[in-house]
């Protein structure tokens, strides 16, 4: 299950987050854990460089695109390699929406579209579309295949 997707800026401030089946009190722990991971590892990282972490049976894969840190947290079938797929879907879509690796400004400008994109990429802890073209079509309410 895909437990969480979280975006933060390079100062470690959460910009956007989605949780599934994570109780409210645990979310705080996750936020601080993820942000700490980012602070420890993502400064100076290349775009799309993949990082991995684990906590018991929960996996975390994260990366940085532009000024934005992206974290994915999953368990069970959403192991580190599946999370790579998820992360790839997310980053390619975000780049597609923002036209490039986003700066924080651009990301915030496209905030709404990013939300729609994420809604197509996963919902309720389940991965849906990984193809950025499909995501783009769906966010415009166009048929998947024409």
């Amino acid at each position: 299950m895909l437990m969480s997707v979280l975006f933060a800026n390079s100062s470690g401030n959460v910009l956007l987050e989605r949780f599934h089946s994570v109780p409210g009190e645990e979310r705080l722990h996750w936020r601080s854990f993820l942000v700490k991971l980012g602070t420890d590892n993502l400064n100076g990282a290349r775009d799309d460089e993949l990082f991995v972490a684990s906590h018991k049976s929960v996996y975390i894969v994260y990366t940085v695109i532009g000024d934005i840190w992206v974290f994915t947290v999953g368990k069970d079938e959403y192991d580190e390699l599946t999370l790579v797929e998820v992360l790839h879907a997310i980053t390619s879509s975000v780049k597609d929406i923002c036209k490039k690796a986003p700066s924080e400004r651009v990301f915030l400008d496209k905030y709404g579209k990013v939300c729609l994109g994420l809604d197509e990429i996963f919902s309720q802890g389940i991965l849906e579309h990984t193809d950025k073209d499909r995501v783009r079509r769906l966010t415009r309410l166009r048929p998947l295949v024409e």
Partner: protein, 1215 residues
């Protein structure tokens, strides 16, 4: 996140919207990511146009640093209420381009920042949903409607993060007619979306898709919507799935050739499958399975993924049904084969799962072809270009599917991996799929160590040679280990761990797998291929039964070929190099993998050096190190023979990173290793624990820090303190467990009684001790060293550990400790050390060791014990010489002394009260006589209120007149000297011992004991019980012991409580009057009618009677008849007026007085059975005899029912 009132600071909303308005009162706290409370703000419709200037009142997710971000000055800040209002306004004119633009660029994106969507927005959204035409706007409308639907009653579960939405109530007055609640809007939203989802109009099908998706966000607790959704989904699938069979589209998304109708069908089928997956799995519904299986052939890859996910989930519960349903698809050219070539990684991953589940399904034994298809598919997935899929296939083959896998499955998995062969499907058999089928095989260019690309139009290559799985897997893992991607490395490490686990399971189960065999031979020798072809495509379950995989004749092996062992060692080498990865998580996974790959026979040096090297890195997070320790623990569980190796490894953690290691985790490891390593390994296990004590003692002039001369951690005072704590823990552990490890207990000592006093020569004593039990002697020596050479804290714990051993051990160990403690108290030890001891000016305490105050009470206890033992021996001699029996008074004094000493001893450590004899083994007989006479429970002793208040004695004479002699006394047991047949139990020491053993927890048929092993194993010894207490005592093992001396985590009191609750009198409230209160007796008398329940009780009595002290002071009434004690009355004293045939069958329970007594009914009593008698209050009766709380009475004249005699409860009659 920090928030500020400062206008220069920014919030997420500020950033998104505009520059903050100066003077804004936007002040809010913000937790990370967002827990901020926005003050309630309400506004009236009349105010709609007067936007409040103070607006953004939300979480400041951003830090002050973010104020540097350039903001677009033209924008205005917006509050939630403003947004809501804007939405209302713009929704009304949604057809205008300008308003659409406003919505798209200003309202919706900002609204998305909030964590939830206010239901009061729903009317506007619904209006937009109906009127808007722009796809973007509509998509937003669906998005927000879905969020409203999804935000169930509990906000905390909602998925959306971000700024907390202002309280809905505050906004409720937006509506002139009152607040809008979820309950108001939900039905409307659902109705509108449902209508749209059911709309078959082709032109609006994207909206249909979006509506259905939004509907699936509704919490599944809503049964109405769930059934509605089923209806819609099945409606769609009925139309599209069946029709879809006609036109097969090989093309995935993006294919130009796809015709419109097929595209539409594919889209709808996808969305229906997606919705179906979110609905509760309807296991028994054939339609559900049918549609899901049909979905595997869906043209949409994501639809296929959902279908496979559902089918594999259903397959877990009903493998046979699913196998039959999927069977056709698995054939060559079937949909399952096609999945191999779908680009979607997760589809192929689910395919691996499905194939694994189905291939091991028991129900399809008769369909070997099916099983073979599934197995071949699974093996083919090993060649998948994606590591994710390949690794999933490996874990499936290894027998790890979910957390419930058994070690048998794991072992079978390892056997399968080492023996099975992938035979590629014959390309000629499936001409239509030729190109695609070979793509998979190409992916397999594993033999070339390259991950296949996925060429679409490659010509069919020649048939491929079969490949042994192990080789494919090893090649794949090796190539993964060369990856530069951390997730791939991490995953590969996990897979290596899984391999190690399965291998360990195979070892544990005694499977002999010759790792020196060369798998290549299997495929090079045609005959062998044939012979083994059943393995390929064969039955993995059948592999389970195969305990030996036949190795190949080595003569066949080509010299250049790798054996399994060499492949494994290459793999481990690869893992070892991965430890160089800069990511700690990957390194930790690599170390874990190495631990799992370590086999008991191999040298542990490499593992140790790797770990030692790693641990010198100060940056390791403590949590990861503790996780590795837990892996050690798991490794031990898988292979208990490795206890010593693992303890050796754990020592590295203890010494290299003591500051980061949770000493509880380490102690747990010690404990389980000690208990699990078997009788032969205990000595070595204890030695391994004591390595912590072998660390160089601190130098006198730098007491704290230089604990570890040769370790980097010494410079860290925190680590030094942690090491000291660890040492304390080790010392405590040693004291607490040395007796267990050495199997030496005072109460099971092999030393004959009285030997101790003859062994006063210290040297002889030590020599005898070490020759008899080197384990205990070794532990004592180390503790003695700690008691004078450690830090003060360690010395205290060591003294406590020593007294624990002294109390628990028999002679000569006790005496040895006694002598040592005495010397220590007197400072004698310091005398010995005087030369080596350099004072740093600190007062070391008057005694020289600073332990006098601790040791004094310990010595006192030992003194008292020895004195009392001495006295007892004298007394016994006196009695023997005078041929004089022990009087009750003397016995009482003896017993009191025993109890007092027990109490004293229990202050220092736990001892089993029922077994422990502070007065020495010779006291057992006398104590038992006294106990039995006075019905004192051995476990509780004087702590039993009944004994303390004297009720136990009273009970005998006044209440408990019926005693139950042992029914199954062995006839061979000689009669006691008093010659009474019935008194066989009264002085049966062996029996008493059994009672004590039972009460001490050794009983073999103690009911309701939680630990199964304690009851089922025939040879449960005290060791086992001890082990159990060790295992359970995970808490409170802190080395910071109380000075009071109770060093055991199981305090005496708590143990007593648990023992008495399990074995004590309260368990059998009424059967033993001597140990129960009146109330309990009475209760039982009321509950248990003899006529109806005796049959059931007889069995219980059998066991209980054996186990309970049964020497009874006979009541005056009984005395004349039976001299002293038991009334067995075996059947020959039938009651005169048996009311029913049952009474004679319980003769042993009955006491027969010489003549009937007169009695009177106190209350009215209604007979509950044939043998019972109705009573009227005040009626005169003759009591003939009493049986177990019931009187057999005779009336003077027949009652209403015509009966003259029968049983009545004792309490209903006054005599």
């Amino acid at each position: 996140m920090a928030t500020q009132d400062n206008p220069s600071s920014t919030t997420l909303m500020d950033l998104i919207t505009s520059d903050p308005v100066p003077g804004s009162d936007a002040s809010s706290a913000a937790a990370k990511g967002g827990a901020v409370i926005e003050p309630r703000r309400s506004f009236k419709r009349t105010n709609l146009l007067q936007l409040p200037s103070e607006s953004v009142n939300s979480i400041k997710i951003l830090s002050p640093a973010k104020s540097l971000v350039p903001l677009k000055q033209k924008k205005k800040p917006l509050s939630y209420s403003q947004l809501a209002r804007s939405l209302h306004e713009l929704a009304a004119v949604a057809d205008q381009k300008n308003s659409q633009k406003q919505l798209l660029h200003h309202v919706f994106p900002k609204l998305a920042v909030y964590s939830s969507v206010d239901p009061s927005l729903a009317p506007s959204l619904l209006m937009l949903h109906q009127q808007a035409e722009d796809g973007h706007v509509l998509r937003y409308a669906y998005y927000f409607l879905a969020r409203i639907l999804g935000e169930g009653d509990t906000q905390s579960i909602s998925a959306g993060g971000g700024i907390p939405t202002p309280n809905w109530d505050a906004l409720a007055d937006l509506s002139s007619i009152g607040g809008i609640t979820r309950a108001d809007v939900l039905p409307r939203i659902i109705a509108q979306l449902t209508k749209e989802a059911e709309n078959p109009d082709v032109s609006v099908h994207p909206r249909r898709v979006a509506a259905l998706k939004a509907l699936t966000c509704t919490p599944m607790s809503n049964t109405d919507i769930v059934s509605k959704l089923y209806e819609i989904v099945f409606g769609i699938l009925d139309k599209v799935a069946d029709a879809g069979k006609v036109r097969k589209k090989k093309g995935m998304f993006g294919r130009q050739s796809v015709d419109k109708e097929s595209a539409l069908r594919s889209n709808l089928q996808y969305v229906a499958l997606s919705a179906l997956r979110r609905l509760p799995l309807d296991q028994g519904n054939p339609a559900f399975l049918h549609r899901a299986v049909q979905g595997i052939a869906c043209a949409d890859p994501v639809g296929v993924r959902h279908a496979l996910a559902m089918v594999s989930e259903m397959a877990v519960r009903d493998p046979y049904g699913v196998a039959m349903a999927v069977g056709k698809l698995s054939l060559a050219g079937g949909a399952l084969q096609e999945v191999l070539h779908i680009q979607d990684v997760m589809s192929r991953m689910y395919l691996a799962r499905l194939c694994y589940i189905l291939s091991r399904a028991r129900g399809i034994d008769e369909r070997m072809d099916l099983r073979s298809q599934f197995t071949t598919l699974l093996y083919q997935l090993l060649l998948d270009p994606s590591e994710r899929v390949c690794f999933e296939a490996i874990t499936c083959i290894l027998g790890k599917f979910d957390s419930h896998e058994s070690s048998e499955e794991r072992a079978a998995g390892w056997a399968l991996l080492t023996s099975a062969i992938l035979k590629f499907p014959d390309p000629s058999a499936q001409p239509s799929k030729d190109s695609s089928a070979t793509q998979g095989s190409d992916g397999s260019t594993a033999s070339n160590d390259s991950v296949a690309k996925f060429p679409k139009d490659r010509p069919a290559p020649r048939p491929r040679r079969p490949q042994p799985l192990i080789r494919l897997v090893m090649r794949r893992l090796e190539s993964a280990l060369r990856s530069h991607l951390r997730p791939v490395l991490h995953a590969a490490m996990r897979i290596v761990q899984e391999i190690g686990k399965s291998r360990a399971a195979a070892f544990a189960l005694g499977m002999v797998i010759n790792e020196d065999s060369v798998p290549e031979n299997l495929i090079e020798n045609g005959d062998i291929i044939k012979a083994d072809s059943e393995v390929d495509g064969g039955d993995p379950a059948a592999e389970v039964s195969r305990t030996k995989v036949v190795p190949l004749p080595s003569s066949l092996a080509a010299n250049s070929r790798e054996s399994i062992a060499s492949m494994l060692s290459n793999l481990v080498e690869g893992v070892r190099t991965t430890v160089a990865c800069e990511c700690f998580y990957v390194r930790a996974a690599a170390i874990k993998a190495m631990m799992w790959m370590q086999s008991p026979e191999e040298s542990v040096e490499e593992l140790k050096s790797t770990i030692a090297g790693e641990l010198s890195d100060p940056l390791w997070p403590a949590s990861l190190l503790n996780e590795i320790l837990l892996t050690l623990h798991a490794r031990f569980k898988a292979t208990p023979e490795m206890a010593i190796i693992l303890l050796d490894v754990s020592r590295l953690f203890a010494t290299k990173a003591p500051g980061k290691i949770d000493s509880d985790v380490l102690q747990l490891l010690w404990k389980t290793c000690l208990i699990g390593c078997g009788p032969s390994g205990k000595h070595t296990a204890l030695e391994a624990v004591t390595v912590v004590l072998d660390l160089p003692p601190p130098a006198p002039d730098a007491l704290e820090v230089s604990v570890l001369k040769d370790h980097s951690s010494t410079s860290d005072p925190k680590a030094a303190v942690a090491l000291q704590r660890l040492t304390q823990a080790a010392v405590w552990f040693l004291g607490e467990n040395a007796n267990y490890a050495a199997a030496e207990y005072a109460w099971e000592s092999k030393t004959p009684p009285g030997t101790a006093l003859m062994m006063l020569d210290g040297d002889k004593m030590v020599a005898a001790a070490s020759s008899r039990n080197p384990t205990l002697a070794g532990a004592l020596t180390r503790l003695q060293r700690c008691a004078f050479s450690g830090s003060w804290e360690v010395r205290i714990v060591a003294a406590q550990a020593l007294i624990t051993i002294a109390i628990r051990s028999g002679e000569p160990y006790r005496l040895q400790v006694y002598e040592f403690l005495r010397a220590l108290a007197k400072g004698g030890v310091q005398e010995k050390l005087k030369e080596a001891y350099v004072s740093n000016g600190e007062d070391q305490g008057a005694s020289g060791t600073g332990l006098s105050s601790i040791i004094a009470p310990m010595l006192q206890v030992l003194d008292e014990m020895y004195k009392a033992q001495d006295q007892l021996i004298k007394d016994m001699r006196q009695h023997d010489n005078a041929k004089q029996e022990w009087s009750d008074d003397e016995l009482r004094r003896l017993y009191e002394n025993h109890e007092r000493l027990l109490d004293l001893v229990s202050l220092f450590c736990f001892v089993p009260r029922s077994k422990y004899l502070p007065l020495g083994p010779t006291s057992a007989g006398l104590l038992n006589i006294y106990r039995n006479r006075h019905h004192i429970d051995a476990t509780t002793g004087f702590n039993d209120p009944a004994v303390a208040t004297g009720i136990a004695d009273l009970q005998v004479s006044t209440v408990t007149r019926i005693e139950y002699p042992p029914i199954q006394i062995d006839a061979a047991v000689p009669s006691p000297s008093d010659g009474l047949v019935d008194g066989i139990w009264s002085s049966n020491l062996a029996g008493v011992d059994r009672v004590n053993a039972y009460l001490g927890g050794v009983g073999t048929d103690a009911p309701e004991v939680e630990d199964d092993t304690a009851t089922t194993r025939a040879s449960v010894s005290y060791d086992d019980m001890w082990a159990k207490t060790l295992l359970e005592a995970s808490d409170g093992e802190d080395a910071d012991e109380q000075l009071s001396g109770s060093s055991s985590p199981e305090s005496t009191a708590s143990f007593e409580t648990s023992v008495s609750s399990q074995f004590g009198s309260s368990r059998y409230p009424s059967l033993f009057g001597n140990t129960t209160s009146f109330g309990q007796n009475t209760r039982w008398e009321e509950e248990h009618r003899p006529g109806t329940r005796f049959g059931k009780f007889s069995g219980e009595l059998t066991s209980l009677a054996e186990d309970q002290p049964s020497y009874v002071e006979s009541s005056p009434a009984n005395a004349p008849l039976h001299g002293t004690h038991w009334q067995s009355g075996i059947g020959n004293q039938e009651p005169l007026h048996s009311p029913s045939s049952e009474v004679p069958s319980r003769p042993s329970d009955v006491q027969y007085p010489e003549e009937a007594r007169a009695g009177k009914a106190l209350y009215e009593f209604t007979a509950g059975g044939d043998d019972e008698l109705n009573l009227t209050a005040g009626e005169d009766l003759e009591i003939e005899y009493e049986v177990d709380g019931w009187y057999f009475v005779r009336k003077k004249r027949p009652g209403r029912d015509g009966k003259l005699s029968g049983l009545v409860p004792v309490l209903y009659v006054t005599s």
